[in-house]
Symmetry: C2
Subunit: 260 residues, 2 copies
């Protein structure tokens, strides 16, 4: 476990409700990373639902969140036998910034068949991959497969895709909340197609957690198949060191100011 990540996603209860301190090291430009915000929102939901794991979460990003204090308004929608649903609103300066629906439960209690037609992405070992200095480097250690990292060489490609190793920068073991964060920490896939000058705000992000990750590195595969009128999806799959699929995510984003 990562004490640092645990501290950064801490949710405290006061008379005014639940609150968190969004840390400056999770900032990209003026706004705080969406995956990190969502991990904080999920932690508030788990606290109010009294369950262990995020099963599925969907969030709409309404306006950029800044580093600093935020309140977390949680509404418990349903308490069920196998899963429970909550809504979380992240509020700063009296304005709602994010609205999330969080389905929580106990992943270990799920039973049923396994059937996979795709396996973990093949990529060179972390030390043979390319590290990248970036705004989140104090928090996230990312190593890119050189064959999908045209943007790191100042080049472009026709494939809006990344394959990378990801872990918390303190090398703490990932948990379910870290997976929620990892689903939105890689650079936009469009960097490979249009260069690094594009700004790609997330409109909506949904993360499906499938199992608790084993300790160690997580492998991420992110791919965009369709950019239409500047709107795109990013489909991400996350795999643990044991080679198991641990999460799937998809986001809808907008491509602004692409390099031409």
């Amino acid at each position: 476990m990562s004490r640092r990540f645990d501290l950064h996603t801490q949710v405290t209860r006061s008379e005014a409700g639940l609150a968190a301190e969004l840390r400056d090291t999770w900032r990209i430009g003026p706004a705080v990373n969406g995956g990190y915000q969502l991990a904080v929102a999920c932690r508030a939901a788990l606290l109010e639902l009294g369950v262990d794991d995020v099963v599925n979460v969907s969030a709409y990003f309404i306006s950029p969140t800044a580093a600093g204090p935020a309140t977390l308004d949680v509404e418990v929608i349903k308490r069920g036998r196998t899963s429970s649903l909550a809504q979380v609103r992240i509020v700063q300066d009296g304005r709602e910034r994010v609205r999330a629906l969080v389905l929580g439960g106990s992943l270990a209690a799920f039973t049923g068949p396994e059937h996979h037609t795709e396996s973990a992405p093949e990529l060179p070992p972390p030390d043979a991959c390319v590290g990248v200095p970036g705004p989140l480097q104090r928090e996230i250690d990312m190593r890119f497969d050189p064959s999908t990292a045209a943007f790191l060489r100042g080049q472009t490609s026709d494939r809006a895709e990344h394959r990378a190793w990801v872990r918390l920068a303190d090398a703490g073991a990932p948990d379910v909340l870290a997976l929620v964060t990892f689903a939105d920490v890689l650079p936009p896939t469009t960097f490979n197609v249009f260069g690094m000058t594009s700004w790609v705000p997330t409109l909506e992000l949904t993360v499906q957690i499938r199992r608790r990750p084993a300790p160690g590195w997580v492998r991420a595969h992110v791919i965009t198949r369709h950019i239409s009128a500047g709107h795109l999806e990013e489909d991400c799959s996350l795999w643990d060191e044991a080679g198991q699929l641990v999460a799937l995510s998809r986001q809808r984003a907008m491509l602004l100011a692409p390099a031409t």
Copy 2:
């Protein structure tokens, strides 16, 4: 346009708020089809937001909805220049059945690059595909590519996938709300792997609308790559007769009582 679909998704305003009549012909067993419910919820959101198109919608299915009257509680979260956000709760008998977040706007106003690495699924013409009698046959005309329709021959396959033509049964031109419905009308992909006895309730469904569809048939490609502990995704892409991508959707579902 389809007058019948328009009538079935009609939302009326009374002193008690917005209401709809969920039609019996959209029932599958005791519950009403999720895609149809979501189209009704979206129509209520568009009405309150005063915008033309659904851009993106995410819904969590809390408890099964029955045919009959339903109320639609809409909260306008944000009115923006390019898009606006609303929350819709579908309520029956005083109980919340569905909670949806609907991002609305004007698709025609979106501008930006096009970049596609996948094209419309290849499948034989509708008359060479296989029609299927099913619970929704009075509302939806579906024609399956024989090569992905093992379940229609009482067989199983290792590919949890469908390719099919879809249109409203009255052959009315599809609109954005019809796309929301089409994203959840095909039989579960798991029918091809485990047989037709499995019950696959949707926990969450997100639909990204990319453009208004041309009149005519819509091509659907639905694929499940990962079933883990009985939980699965269904990724659907919808293409219009002009060969353009019109929507992407992903749902998380549970596989109950699989045939073994």
